[in-house]
Structure formats: structure tokens, C-alpha cells
Symmetry: C3
Subunit: 206 residues, 3 copies
């Protein structure tokens, strides 16, 4: 198993835990918790595969994710009252997951010979869309549209990847630089509480 | 027309009625009622087709569903105040629909040479996802994540199907046993008011 | 650039503005505004491409939409308090967009050799579904299911297109007649405040 696979698994685990916690907060039942954990972890990659036509989608061809997410759901339920103590590690895993999933998405776009800007969009989609589906299923306005600079970190990482790719940098360096950039941006953003500007319409009667 | 086709049509009708009733409860207009009836009946199969890459999706290649659902919508609207008397038959049709759609989904997975666990997932998706889309469009947390053992019956049926398939049982027996198992589980669950456990996080401030 | 391309761009712009305004009303951040503008403009075409299997979907093969929508988002934000004065032109653009997107959808169905009724459904989907996704992401029951005769105009246009197509009318006449019919229906409907009938269930306890 390569470093890449290991990080992919860490990302899947972090996203699955984040989904399971959301579902428990919404008082869903056991099946609901598993499904929300599942779509949070695989939603982004599934949307990417469907849009570029890479079907059957990847989780159907590699069943390890299904078992992994099932295990994570069980563990999350058992330790649900202890997860507070893990919040910092969770945040880190989640950020690593964002980095890795962004890279996987950009790579899929390059392999399908798409325009660089579309590759970046695919990276962002792969990294962020699982959380969007989680929020829609839990009947909330997706959090990434409201207060996170989550997507921005992913977009910056995608741009960095495409530049290094165009410069024909060695693939390992491209991977590491992209992931590090995403992690650093997200940590800085949270530390300094940066957020994207919001614009509201004055005197609007909807 | 085979027994299988007949049951398929019964399932489509039951799901379409369930969708039309939901939409009328939400005060949607005529077009909204038709669309919700339509997605409830074909949503699961459409998601399955998209994820495995069987496009154009099946309702585009067999227009009978479109006409059938149109007719069901009309009849549901006319008899909307009498449907209470039909609730028991509706529940039965809906459960038969769940059984048949689960089988169709598992079969599609087998035909695409997917792993047995993915075939079961496809069966559950085909049986349950139409209701999930119905609830999302009506702006509710999907009911199957909250209080139904609906999905569990479908999963149990899918497992039964794959075991009989592995044992090379005759296809008719496989179909009948799977459908019966799903119906029996669902009836027992409703009779004895079984529900899946829920887990909530203590002292959680979201 | 043909008249058709010009109108396509007008439609994309109108839909993107409508999405950006919705997002600002929901207090989303910059990224959220762009994404909502984007899915409103390309959602219908993307669903159509995925369901008929035309992947990678069209906005991945033609990046002009991405830049166009980015520009529109910026302009919408800058002039957000002035857009009230543009409401009438916006409504007209939006209606033109509905006409053009309906035609593009019907054409895609004809090119894929689908049944005429499915072609009409594809036209309606291409014209209307972006708005549905916008509403789901903003956590509302889609407006077209509640009070607009939006979809009805699109369906009427689709029927008109298929009849002229069957009669082998020249393609330009087919385009113009379809678009005009959709525009006229929508203007009449808004002027005379027609709405589709709603049906509610008496004494329903959900």
C-alpha cells in the first residue's frame, strides 16, 4: 500500500466520521447514520465519475470503501460521546482528506483530457461535494456555501497542482505541495477566522 | 405479460400514488404533483442506471412508465379524499413494489458483473431512493433515515437473493422467496413496531 | 456566432443572475453565490447529459460557460442593489432562456433517437431543472412545483417543436415558433395571473 492509498483511507475515514456525527445530531436511525457517513465519504467522487462518464462509479469497483465506512460508522456510534476529545485530530484528518480528494479529482480530469480549469473544478467537487450531499440530506443549507473557506483551499490546491503539472514537476512533489498548501490555507483560515465576503440585497422583499 | 412485469407495474403504481399523496399534502400544483409522483416511482431505478452507466436511463427507453404515472396522478387527484380507505392496500402494494424493485436492482448489478455486496446496495437503492428524492424535493429529512425499517427489509431481501443466486436456485424461486421475505419483514416490523436504534450525542452543542 | 449561440448566452446570463440573486437573499458567501449561479445556469443541461449518457457533460467540454457565469456573478454582486430596476428585462431574458434551453434539450433527445414524449421531457428538464437545484441547495421547496406555470410553457413549446419537426418544417421556423410560443404563454400567464390547480387532501393528518 502506497502513501497515497494510506492518505486516501485516512480521508475516507475522516469524512465518514464527520457524516456519522452529523447524522447522530439529526437523530437519524442506524441505517440513516450509515448512509450519511457513506455519502459524505463517497459523494464527491461519485458525482465526479458520473459527470465525466467513468461508470460504474469507483466505489462499485472497489468494495473496500463500503466495509471501511461500515466499520467507521460502528466505531463512531460506540465512541459518540468521546469524539469531542478527538476534534482536533478529526479536523486534521478532514483537511488531509480534502487535500487528497482534491488531487484525485484533478488527476481524473487530466486523465480524461479536460481543460485545466475543469480539472480544478473536478478536484473541488471531489473534495467538497460529499459534505454538500450530507447537508442536503440533513435538510440544511450546505455549510460550505455559508461560512467555510473550505472550497477556497481546495481551489487553491487545484491551481497549484495544475501549475506544477504544466511545469512537469515530479508527481510526488506535486502531490505533497498541493496537499500541504491546502492544509496550510485551511489552518491559517481557521486560526485567523478569515471568511469570504457576503453580499446581501438591500430592502429586498422576497 | 409475465408475472414479473405485472408486479413491476403494481410497484410503479403504488410508488406513484405515494408520491402524489405527499405532493398534495405539501400543496403543490398539478405539475408538481405529477413530477413528485414520477420521481418517487422512477428515482431509484434512474440513480441505479446513472451509477452503473446504463444510459439512456430505462424510463427513456420504455415510455409506458410515463403514461402510467400520468394516469395514476390523475386518478389520485380525483379520488384524493377516498384514499384513506385504500391505505391498507396501498401499504401492501408499496411493499410489493419494494420487493420487486429490490430484485430488479440486484439483477442489474449481477448483469454488470459487480461484487455481491454492490448488487445488494443497488437493490436497496432501486427500492428506496425514489422515496428519498420525494422527501428532498418536499424539503423534508428523508423518512427512511428516521423511522422506517424500510431499507432493512430491502437489504435482507438482497442478501437472500444473492445467497439463492450463489446456490444456483431456479430464478422463479429466487424471485418469490426474496419478495416474500421483504413483505414478511415489513409486515412484522409494522405489526410489532420495531425500529432501528437511534444514537444521539450527549450534551452536543451544534 | 449564430443567433442561436447569442440566445444561448443570453439564457445562461439570465439564469446565472437569477441564481446569484437567490444566493444573496440567503446570505451565502462569495463561493456560494458563484456555485448557485453556476448550477442554476447549467443544472438542467447537466442532468440531461447524465441521463442520456452524453459524458463528459457539456460544460466540461466548452469552458466559456464557466467564465461567463463567473463574470455574471461579479457583475451581479456589484450591481446587487440596482437589479430591481432590471427586473422586467431579467424576466424577459429568463423567459428567452427557458425557450432556448427547451429547444436545446428537445434537440438532444432527437439526436439520441428517443421517443417524442421523452424529447419533450428532456426539453422541460433542460429548461427548468437548474431552478429546481437552486431551490434545493437554498433549502426551499422548488418554486416551479408551487406557483409558476413555468414548466407548462416549456412543455407546450416542446410539443410545438415535435409537431413542426414531424411536419419537416425548416429548422429556423421551428426554433422561432417554439421560442415565441413559450414567451407568449409565459407573458400571458403572468399578465392574467393564471396558475395550475392545486389539490389538497381533506382532513389529512400527516
Amino acid at each position: 500500500m502506497t502513501l497515497f492509498d494510506t492518505l486516501d483511507i485516512l480521508g475516507t475515514i475522516a469524512f465518514a466520521i464527520s457524516g456519522a456525527l452529523s447524522a447522530m445530531n439529526r437523530r437519524l436511525d442506524l441505517f440513516g447514520i450509515f448512509i450519511i457517513a457513506f455519502v459524505t465519504a463517497i459523494g464527491g467522487g461519485t458525482l465526479r465519475d458520473v459527470l465525466i462518464g467513468a461508470t460504474p462509479v469507483s466505489w462499485m469497483q472497489n468494495t473496500i470503501n463500503l466495509y471501511l465506512i461500515g466499520g467507521v460508522t460502528g466505531v463512531s456510534i460506540i465512541f459518540r460521546n468521546k469524539l469531542d476529545y478527538l476534534k482536533k485530530s478529526l479536523f486534521l484528518f478532514d483537511t488531509i482528506g480534502l487535500g487528497i480528494f482534491t488531487i484525485i479529482g484533478v488527476e481524473a480530469g487530466i486523465q480524461t483530457d479536460l481543460d485545466p480549469i475543469i480539472c480544478i473544478a473536478l478536484g473541488t467537487m471531489t473534495g467538497c461535494f460529499g459534505g454538500v450531499i450530507r447537508d442536503i440530506l440533513c435538510n440544511e443549507i450546505p455549510v460550505i456555501f455559508r461560512k467555510e473557506v473550505y472550497a477556497t483551499a481546495s481551489i487553491a490546491g487545484g491551481i497549484c497542482f495544475m501549475i506544477l503539472h504544466a511545469l512537469k514537476a515530479p508527481i510526488n512533489i506535486t502531490y505533497i505541495a498541493t496537499t500541504l498548501l491546502i492544509i496550510v490555507i485551511r489552518l491559517l483560515v481557521v486560526k485567523y477566522q478569515v471568511s469570504l465576503p457576503m453580499f446581501t440585497v438591500r430592502n429586498q422583499k422576497t
